[in-house]
Symmetry: C2
Subunit: 215 residues, 2 copies
């Protein structure tokens, strides 16, 4: 079995605890029963040329897989899926899982990032108040589209897959809003995914990184 080392940060603003992208990576590792070492970075290490060689933006997470540094949580989860059941073997389902990974990252997340920028950093600004309704409207439309696409399926690609890990990782950026809860099919989908024991183990490990270091 491969050896895995996860690079992450020992701190995050409270609003982001529970959604930093080491969470989907931990979740994927838990699903495939892959033990991993954790390396928490100091700010100095994070800014070092050595870390930049692993992660060009100085962000987390990075997952080293047998010494290969893989960055971008979507790419990490996909990488883990290439050699496990996280990407379905059946070709149409496998293609569908890939489509939904990119959809989460490029058709859903940009609006979630925009909403988070407003709600966490600019809620008391004129521009934030002016801009927010349009962002929320766009996002609500897209979320309803995801619910429609799910239809009667339990998961995006058919069976549970890497796509659900990536999508839930993205949707967690909306926990401070009612946007997911107000769409019953999407709420049920999220709850179904987050009830998985592997998610619960990943979330506990993720949160533990912060609680040990804060104070």
């Amino acid at each position: 079995m491969a050896t895995y080392t996860l690079y992450t940060l020992p701190w995050a603003p409270v609003a982001f605890q529970g959604q930093v992208r080491d969470l989907p990576v931990r979740w994927a590792l838990e699903e495939i029963d892959a033990p991993y070492a954790v390396r928490t970075l100091s700010d100095e290490e994070r800014r070092s040329p050595e870390y930049r060689a692993k992660q060009p933006f100085g962000k987390v997470p990075v997952l080293e897989v047998d010494g290969l540094a893989v960055f971008e949580s979507g790419a990490i989860v996909q990488h883990l899926g290439e050699n496990s059941w996280l990407l379905p073997a059946e070709s149409a389902q496998r293609a569908r899982a890939r489509m939904w990974m990119f959809a989460a990252m490029n058709s859903i997340d940009p609006d979630i990032i925009a909403l988070g920028d407003i709600d966490h950093f600019a809620s008391d600004t004129d521009w934030g108040r002016t801009r927010r309704p349009d962002v929320e409207r766009s996002l609500r439309t897209r979320l309803n589209d995801v619910a429609s696409a799910l239809g009667a399926r339990d998961f995006l690609a058919g069976p549970f897959s890497a796509a659900d890990i990536v999508m839930i990782g993205v949707l967690r950026g909306l926990r401070h809003t009612a946007l997911v809860n107000e769409i019953s099919a999407l709420r049920a989908y999220r709850d179904r995914c987050e009830a998985r024991p592997a998610f619960q183990r990943a979330l506990a490990a993720h949160m533990n990184t912060f609680t040990r270091r804060v104070a």
Copy 2:
């Protein structure tokens, strides 16, 4: 060889002509010498349940590959790469290509989308004027990071790959700014990619879709 049908729109606002995401898909198809049929959608067709079954957000492009509808340009380019040289065979380069596809879509594009929303739709608003400097600053940092990561390489994964097609497709959203041009290594990278005959053929076909229909 597989049969390919590209679904796209016969119109786009002038500012978006040259960057709608059928362009990277056409480019990938041209690189691998794969002939494809084009199906331009009326607004009514685009909104139909039949098209929504192919593309959950009612957007373009979709590429049908032997009848399988693949959506999200990143996923389409990756799909084409799985069965061609567009994803390098060497495992570290292949992983690197995947990382950069996700980086383009989730670490670079959200700021480009935000800047485009301001410049094309809100340049005369107070919120747009207030917000723009922060978006530009964030984007400039990321673009410099991409240039640093390229270093002495000609292309993101080593050899030219699907990652360059996706990254250039994203960077084209900045043609109305000086942001790419002002970073010489990034400008050279873009020019190197866009000089490829396959890109030039794809761009001509992409633009021709619009020019035939406008008037």
